[in-house]
């Protein structure tokens, strides 16, 4: 089992550790509901150093990225980041990623921990024969701390003294000393930053952030927050079997940008299903893979679900027949044999200031 450079810090803080994608990670510290509340009202801290980071450089880096990913990398410039997808030749999603443009023909790609080995093999296979592209796996030396919540930007600005952080727009980033990157991104639906640093520097940075009032939060809170924010999670909303157009991430596929891996297959893939949000009418918790019906007919399944402490309601994302993807449509979720009423609602369930 792999450990991040903050492992000892988590243990000392009394975290409950669980296995996640081959890593020993904190699932909670004081309790998931309290940690969700901290992010929604002040500042939460997440160790996401288990995520993979790959540097792509060389004179062919831009062309390589543009061909391997679905979003339009031509919209990137130094200091900007972009959500994108890696597709296979069949149009299925290999991973969802964020691409950071560090300089002309120099990028950093952030990969899901659970997909990292597979992604790295895929990237290496694709780079064969391209002498002008250099890939480097920098995951081990790179730590990533997410600082999220309505007071996160103020906290980081005061703590680091880094100028003009509050002026950065969403998906813009600023580089500091010692390899630090302050990125106005996150996976919670609240404002905040994700801070890249050298792994060895992470414990002291984490200590400063907690001393300044940041509340450590675990994977349990992270999953609730990303669901409330309507963000997909690979292996749930996204996988190699489903088209991005049936997974709620069609906006990140730019069919007119030029050719890219998976594009030809996407032209022929059906768009019969849609990813929607569901909210339960009564107190009930829809969890993943629960059947959904309308008028007695099976119309799809939930892909993720939870109790939302913020909305005080059971919520889920679900892939359903497209004709039912209309806001307000009454549907029924089969919760372990009980038919529980719910409605199709807009995604995200929650968004604050971003």
């Amino acid at each position: 089992m792999k450990r991040t450079s903050l492992y000892e810090t988590h243990l000392a803080a009394g975290a409950t550790m669980v296995p996640f994608a081959g890593w020993e990670m904190p699932v909670s510290y004081a309790g998931t509901v309290a940690e969700v509340a901290a992010v929604r009202s002040s500042t939460g801290l997440f160790d996401v150093s288990h995520m993979g980071e790959v540097s792509v450089s060389g004179s062919g880096a831009f062309d390589f990225i543009q061909y391997l990913t679905t979003n339009d990398a031509a919209r990137l410039s130094p200091g900007k980041a972009q959500y994108s997808l890696l597709l296979n030749e069949n149009g299925g999603v290999i991973d969802d990623i964020i691409i950071y443009c560090l300089a002309s023909n120099a990028y950093l790609i952030v990969l899901n921990a659970g997909c990292k080995d597979k992604d790295w093999d895929w990237l290496q296979a694709q780079v064969q024969g391209k002498a002008n592209v250099v890939l480097e796996d920098v995951s081990k030396s790179t730590a990533l701390i997410a600082v999220q919540g309505p007071k996160a930007v103020e906290l980081i600005s005061q703590l680091t003294g880094q100028e003009n952080l509050s002026e950065l727009k969403r998906f813009q980033f600023s580089r500091g000393q010692c390899g630090l990157i302050y990125s106005r991104t996150g996976y919670t639906g609240d404002d905040g930053f994700e801070i890249f640093c050298e792994s060895a520097d992470a414990p002291s940075l984490w200590q400063k952030l907690t001393d300044a009032g940041g509340v450590p939060a675990g994977l349990g809170a992270r999953d609730v927050l990303r669901l409330e924010a309507g963000y997909p999670l690979y292996g749930h909303e996204l996988d190699a079997e489903a088209s991005p157009f049936e997974s709620g991430v069609g906006w990140a596929v730019k069919m007119n940008k030029g050719n890219f891996i998976g594009r030809a297959a996407l032209l022929d893939l059906p768009k019969n299903r849609s990813l929607v949000g569901l909210q339960m009418d009564e107190r009930a918790i829809p969890r993943e893979h629960y059947p959904i019906s309308a008028n007695g007919e099976l119309i799809g399944h939930t892909t993720s679900g939870t109790w939302s402490p913020t909305l005080r309601a059971g919520i889920a994302m679900a892939r359903v027949d497209a004709e039912f993807a209309v806001l307000g449509t009454p549907i029924s979720v089969d919760i372990r044999g009980r038919a529980c009423p719910a409605k199709v609602v807009a995604l995200p369930f929650y968004r604050n200031g971003v």
Binding site: V224, I285, W307
Partner: protein
């Protein structure tokens, strides 16, 4: 949290406080800690007859669903309706306001199958 000495426990982590022939039932502090934040309890109707070991209901935390089993046989004579709006009482006060049901016992000898506080604490 110290385990109250006036309780008996099942090996499936329900506690009972037995007063004459009425058993008040909840889940242990250990169990609520393992479950994490309780978001929902599904409890039986008053009047339901249960055999010891029958599924009594479900407790759902944010991370998991857990079945609740009847630690004694009898009739459900009360259900803690406060949990409908405040299921977190199971976390905050597992041996008090977080109680779940009261069972009028039909087999008083059931109590002898349960663990006392010290034995439960030593096991879990």
């Amino acid at each position: 949290m110290p385990t109250p000495i006036d309780l008996n426990f099942s090996s499936t982590h329900e506690w009972c406080r037995i007063d004459a022939n009425i058993a008040t039932v909840g889940i242990s502090d250990h169990a609520q800690g393992e479950l994490g934040d309780v978001a929902l309890t599904l409890l039986p109707e008053v009047g339901r007859m249960l055999q010891r070991g029958d599924k009594l209901g479900e407790i759902e935390s944010i991370k998991a669903v857990s079945d609740l089993y009847a630690p004694v046989s009898g009739e459900v004579v009360a259900v803690n309706e406060a949990l409908d709006d405040a299921p977190e009482l199971v976390n905050d006060d597992p041996y008090g306001k977080g109680w779940m049901v009261k069972i009028k016992m039909t087999q008083p000898a059931d109590a002898e199958t349960l663990l006392d506080s010290a034995a439960y604490e030593a096991t879990f």
